[in-house]
Symmetry: C2
Subunit: 328 residues, 2 copies
């Protein structure tokens, strides 16, 4: 089996590759070839070094997509994207990579299939950014996509392309609408959503964290481990059960900031919670007010996708996967 | 005012241009310049001959979109498309014109605005083909777009682009999701939807027509006159009332084939109805079974869009506009 991971150096890409290295039959067959591609050099896992090729590429550049596809990968994870903030400030770059790069990839698959029959499985990382406020209290499986960012627009367009190319039999695609990933590993970042992870990750490492919003702010979460699980499941499931509606809102956990904090208290104690410093920020509060808070993910659940159901579990996964099981 | 009509030789394009010729202030100001563009030569109306330029173009060809925009039209009607059947059989052509051509047009507007401030009104002809079965009994204003054709996919993508470019202030766009237009003038065509018009237009001209489906088949209609009215209204309305959800399901009339026939009987008598020959066609019946039957168009109605509310009116409009008021 030849597996291609586009966006292999990103947070989910790295964790997906680590999972494939740890469980080489996770995709249901031996990985005979692994191609890792990203705009920055991907890390090659030791366990798969002998079968891995790492490429540094620009998905928007002419020729990149055909060169990724000429090796006829059986399973393609398309995780590469210009992220939300950058796609908003750099209009051309966001459209070039997120729309045209994705379309070039899909077209390269089609051209390869015209040369010789070919129908790979394609797993596409979409986002709840395809939705735009105002929202119902719970966003149902047939709610429309009216994104309020260029990033969300590009993801929604890629979803439509994925569904049409799949309907045409060009590839066998599944669009994975990811919840906000929590706890994001690494250093605190300036993303407006960063605090959802910061207020857990930093205290768990014995450090202070800033909470810029009120405790009643509600949002939609899944752990990095679940995110990897979504892609593995989508790569191995029987897609005939999906039908033509190929883009699925993944399951997640709807929780308030207050619930996050109480879970932290249960897992790591009052001392950890005392490291959260409240510094209300009206700009971040305003941005977050336009975000979705809860979804009906019953369609994805019926298709076998699973995420955490209590916040304590999200915290425990971080402690296990990032802190070697050690609490502060 | 400089007005550009892209797709001016199509059915709605021709009728829109006729309306502008008959009511030169329909757009709220004098038309000082009218540019008509289409893949086939557009008809220039006598009343506007002195201010009209007619162009034959390929929207997908490099340079076409900038050449249409360099004259900085104030109002742009984008009606050009590879139609449903052809977009399904010619994958490349459908994507080249309906997706890439539309994006090239939107980009040309952006580039022109970077050169010198420019923000035209853009009216885009979308379609209920953005929706895909299964449907609820009434498709609400927040139902998702899961098209089952490449044409519907391309229209749904263009809608997303229109909303994002409008949100960015690049132009002031409105997407007009047209109902099935009835009664389509001209000769009977082979489109699966043709019979909805054929069974009225042909008997009104004293000719036989074939009905391939049962009388209980329900669908969603508006007259060509209403379609032109939608575009005129969208060109002149206060768009600040729309908000970021720029694509609107137009009002229409939900009616069964049986209701069409009874309206024909009321307007033109039993003799006209007797010209309808029933020839059940399981293929057409199957195709039509996957089409939407009814919409909640309250959003567009609240914004001032209007269509027919009884089928008799749709027939009378055809008699007035196409038959000089004469019944058979």
């Amino acid at each position: 089996m030849h597996v291609l991971v586009i966006g292999a150096a990103g947070m989910i890409g790295r964790k997906l590759v680590e999972r494939l290295a740890a469980s080489p039959s996770a995709l249901g067959g031996e990985i005979g070839r692994l191609t890792l591609a990203d705009a920055v050099a991907p890390v090659v896992p030791a366990a798969l070094r002998s079968v891995t090729t790492a490429l540094t590429f620009d998905l928007a550049a002419p020729g990149t997509a055909p060169s990724l596809i000429e090796g006829r990968p059986d399973v393609i994870f398309h995780l590469a994207a210009i992220v939300s903030g950058e796609a908003e400030t750099d209009f051309d770059k966001g459209y070039a990579v997120n729309l045209e790069g994705t379309r070039a990839l899909f077209e390269a698959i089609r051209r390869e299939g015209q040369r010789e029959p070919y129908r790979p499985r394609v797993l596409f990382a979409s986002s709840i950014a395809v939705f735009g406020a105002p929202f119902p209290e719970i966003i149902g499986p047939d709610f429309f996509t009216t994104p309020l960012t260029s990033y969300g627009t590009q993801k929604a367009i890629a979803e439509l392309l994925l569904a049409d190319y799949s309907r045409r039999g060009i590839f066998d695609g599944v669009g994975i609408r990811l919840p906000t990933i929590c706890i994001r590993p690494g250093a605190p970042n300036k993303a407006a959503s960063g605090f959802f992870s910061n207020i857990l990750r930093e205290p768990l490492a014995g450090k202070e964290a800033v909470l810029p919003v009120g405790e009643d702010v509600r949002h939609w979460f899944a752990s990095p481990r679940s995110a990897v699980g979504f892609f593995i499941h989508a790569a191995t499931m029987d897609t005939s059960a999906i039908g033509p509606r190929r883009n699925l809102t993944m399951p997640g956990l709807s929780a308030t900031v207050g619930e996050e904090i109480e879970a932290l208290r249960r897992v790591a104690g009052d001392k950890a919670v005392s490291l959260i410093r409240r510094e209300p920020d009206p700009v971040i509060t305003g941005i977050v007010a336009g975000w979705p808070t809860n979804f009906d993910a019953s369609r994805a659940m019926a298709l076998g996708f699973r995420a955490e159901t209590v916040f304590d579990e999200i915290i425990r996964i971080h402690v296990e996967d990032e802190l070697g099981g050690r609490l502060p």
